[in-house]
Symmetry: C2
Amino acid sequence: MKNICSLLPIKYPLIQAGMVWVSGGKLAAASANAGILGVIGAGSMKPELLEEHLNKALKLTNHPECLAVNVPLLYEKTREQLEISLRMGIRTFITSAGSPKNYTSWLKGEGAKVIHVVSSPEFAIKSEAAGCDAVIAEGFEAGGHNGREEITTLALIPQVVDSVKIPVIAAGGIGDGRAIAAVMCLGAQGAQLGTRFVATTESSAHQNFKQAIVNSTSSSTMLSMKKHIPVRLYKNKFFEEVKSLEDHCATKEELEKFLGHGRARRGMLEGDMDEGEIEIGQISGLIHDVPSVEVLVKRLIEEQRQCLPGGSFF
Amino acid sequence: MKNICSLLPIKYPLIQAGMVWVSGGKLAAASANAGILGVIGAGSMKPELLEEHLNKALKLTNHPECLAVNVPLLYEKTREQLEISLRMGIRTFITSAGSPKNYTSWLKGEGAKVIHVVSSPEFAIKSEAAGCDAVIAEGFEAGGHNGREEITTLALIPQVVDSVKIPVIAAGGIGDGRAIAAVMCLGAQGAQLGTRFVATTESSAHQNFKQAIVNSTSSSTMLSMKKHIPVRLYKNKFFEEVKSLEDHCATKEELEKFLGHGRARRGMLEGDMDEGEIEIGQISGLIHDVPSVEVLVKRLIEEQRQCLPGGSFF
């Protein structure tokens, strides 16, 4: 079976997702040390902070080649984030939330691999045309920002696999080795896990946030703010207030006024579980512990092996 | 690997879903003949019509033991539907949309197997407590009526499997053998396919409806009518009108007035693709042909085998 270990210098075809406020240098280094792709989420970082986290990650791992940066392509500092990362030796980029046309050729010219995050087969075809090396196809069940078409991972992956020749990595709803095996059956060549890595000792999520994941049920999240930018949220007081505004047909402007600034930082980093915005995936209901990344990765690999009649995908 | 072939008298652990206006005696018999569970969808049938379809199915198959009836538990004629089915020899029932407490003990006393459709681990636990023999766990991507919590199949199946001891059958988003293998990896002991069987020669869906599935993309459906009863619809004129009402915060009463009666029959059976209600799953984008049930079932089995490193789940 082909998998992304032939594209990226990693031992197992798994990616620890880059996530705002959660995946800094410490988490990325732990993931790289465990043999998977460790991703720093630059979305919430000013260029100086990104540099700090890159320095931290490089100090904590002997596998710098297994580090990557996730860069949403919609901030004014995108170019600066990418330049710093290149200068620090990063050669794997995950890009999202913007056109893959803008930076892919340049990054590839610098010797980097570029993987774009997509939510539909149509966006995957555009990413392949832009020269991306692979796509991460992320389903409706994923935490955080989400596609408008609400295509679930199970429906999305085979349709993306059938649409492009480049490797497809599955994301959204993957919390254990059973789901890794499942998405590989669908034709994915790897899996990206987000929520599962929030609940690890090395993530920089606040302890309250980690505990909320452990306490979650299958119905603890909901896709929200569809008139704004769709985002999957943990159902806390903040969510209920957003929902109430939406149920009363609030305009986009009224919603933006309510949101204000800094809600995500307040929730995910500072642990205000009432007023903060908590972005998290539907699979949180499956997660019952906060292991180290090393323990988690070993467990994921063993789990995917056990649920296959003939052994393992990798 | 354990699968539902040890519970039900079928050769392959697959169920052709019972669907309103689509799965009559002809489709159910073809499915039974192909070695899977053939289900008559009684939801749209008066008792006399159900009897007619049962008679037809019994004439068309030598495997009456592979026939089942899907009975939504919310109609006034539910008891009558169940009594007719028992009298005609049916011993497998799929129940949905109501409490499994109401009829399960009685049906089991008559020697029948009862499988309840659920959309969350909580409902699965209740079904097990009510004595059901298995549950069908159906995700957000499924066509037609849908759970309010919007849990996708990938997130739902492992959480249901971990919550009950009875077998779990996966439904929602399963359009080919890759997805069958995937849900078996998640711990399901079988798979129910709906949309895929609408687009077969033996289904009683109107030709226009079958062609719409063949022409669909991954974004041709959307979960709708969340304030009423959530239902996944094909995006046609009827859908756009419902959406417009909802975008303008129509009340439940205004929505019901617009819906009127007979919209589903008009769309799915009579082929009015503008004014009719077309219930269909997100996986329609993956479906490109209208084979016979016999050809389809053989293909599904071969596909699931090919995507597993070690062979087959069954």
